[in-house]
């Protein structure tokens, strides 16, 4: 196939964007699904682990150590190794992405639980809360801001990581990046990248909003 010199390529060819609104929507949904399920699974797993570790301090180092090691596994390797087992199902991406959220969430949940002031604990004790009940009814709610802060970090991290999953056929906005790159076509690469960044900023802002809504008492006492 003989090709003449390829001349000029604008950053975004808007007619392409117009022609691809359907696919853009589909890729955004795929991207959000991978991020959303991974966050949800991450929270479902990290929360009980954190509560256990908080009660039984002995396992703290082990839990942080294991999740820390999981964190160092390169995502492409994890996707590629899962491919023969999970195939093209979304689990190929969701399983590794979930493991990445564990360290972030675990750290934040523990930090939130640790930061509950001693006098609050004593007061709770005085009111008859003890043991697991105190943990669930007093300490955990107080740790919510920290948990959501962890979710923010995890969400932004995953949104930036999902493009790699496009290399193993998982779809999402990374598909545009790779397609644009493979055809020396700037528009899809730019569109994919910009949408990922916007998604990350929006997710961060949204979770910040949630954080403020669920902790009205913190709004003005931010630096207290």
């Amino acid at each position: 196939m003989v090709l003449g010199a390829y001349n000029g390529d604008t950053l975004v060819d808007w007619s392409w964007v117009n022609d691809h609104t359907g696919e853009i929507r589909q890729r955004i949904v795929e991207h959000l699904q991978l991020v959303g399920w991974s966050l949800l699974w991450g929270l479902v797993l990290a929360l009980p682990i954190a509560l256990l570790v908080h009660r039984f301090h002995g396992f703290r180092g082990a839990a942080l150590g294991v999740t820390g090691i999981l964190y160092t596994i390169p995502s492409l390797a994890a996707f590629a190794l899962l491919l023969p087992y999970t195939g093209l199902s979304q689990y190929t991406a969701i399983i590794p992405l979930t493991t990445y959220t564990l360290l972030i969430l675990l750290r934040n949940i523990l930090a939130g639980l640790d930061a509950v002031p001693g006098d609050v604990l004593e007061a709770a004790e005085g009111m008859g809360y003890s043991g697991s009940r105190r943990l669930l009814a007093v300490e955990l709610p107080l740790a919510v801001p920290s948990i959501i802060a962890g979710l923010r970090i995890a969400a932004v991290t995953l949104i930036g990581l999902v493009p790699v999953a496009a290399l193993v056929g998982q779809g999402g906005l990374g598909t545009f990046m790779l397609d644009g790159f493979n055809r020396d076509f700037q528009t899809p690469l730019t569109v994919g990248t910009v949408l990922v960044v916007i998604m990350a900023i929006l997710a961060d802002a949204l979770l910040l909003l949630v954080q403020r809504l669920v902790t009205p008492w913190n709004r003005r006492t931010a630096r207290a």
Partner: protein
Amino acid sequence: MSIQSILDWFDNGDHWSGPEGIVHLLWQHVQISVIAVLVATLIALPIGLFFGHHRRGSFVAINLANIGRALPALALLLFAVERFGVADPPAWMQTIGIGSIPTFLVLVALAIPPIVTNTFAGVSGVDPETVDAAKGMGMGGGQVLRRVEMPLASPLIMAGIRTSAVAVVATATLAAIVGWGGLGRYIYDGYRVQDDQRIFAGALLVALLAISVEGVLALVQRFVVPKGLRLAARADDDDAARRPRSANPGLAPGAAIETEPVVPT
């Protein structure tokens, strides 16, 4: 894939030598990571110190970390390759360990934000009374920075560098996708030919390298951080040094994120 097959892979002498060997690829990986973190530190440290010392630009510093994390490494790499191509860098660059210009640039770009934010947080977080006391003893601005603020901020600065270094080691694996080397070769090539042993070996080497980098920098930290601060740092625990208690997000929404860790890749 069994443990035995992984051991066999490592036991094969052919996998250690030559241009596709562990020695060569590991060395490429280490070199480009080291130079990228060094250059990023040289750029980020002065910026963080300046704004931290003058207690200005906190908005920028905090948001820089967020934006840094939001930028997809893969996209940056694709952009960089489009722009700079895959030509071998000039000899002098290769001598100092830069084997691929686009990879190097992306790694530097990803390594800067955590160092800037942590340096800023560390320096600007020094107790104003301590600074006043130092000034009262007749120290000038530069002296305050060098002899008071920098030592006090050193645990956070080091934490920032560690965060960046680990992220750099992980991200460098992506270079194989765009035709360069490093340990990512095993992962990407292994994927292309469905050789699970190779992928696993590559992942193991990258993980070990990341853990070693953490370890080495933790050691460096021991020498850099003044004795009096070490106890405090330990109370924070080496991981939590990046997420100090005081950064409880309940306290300040922005502050919660300013010292967060590592991007897996």
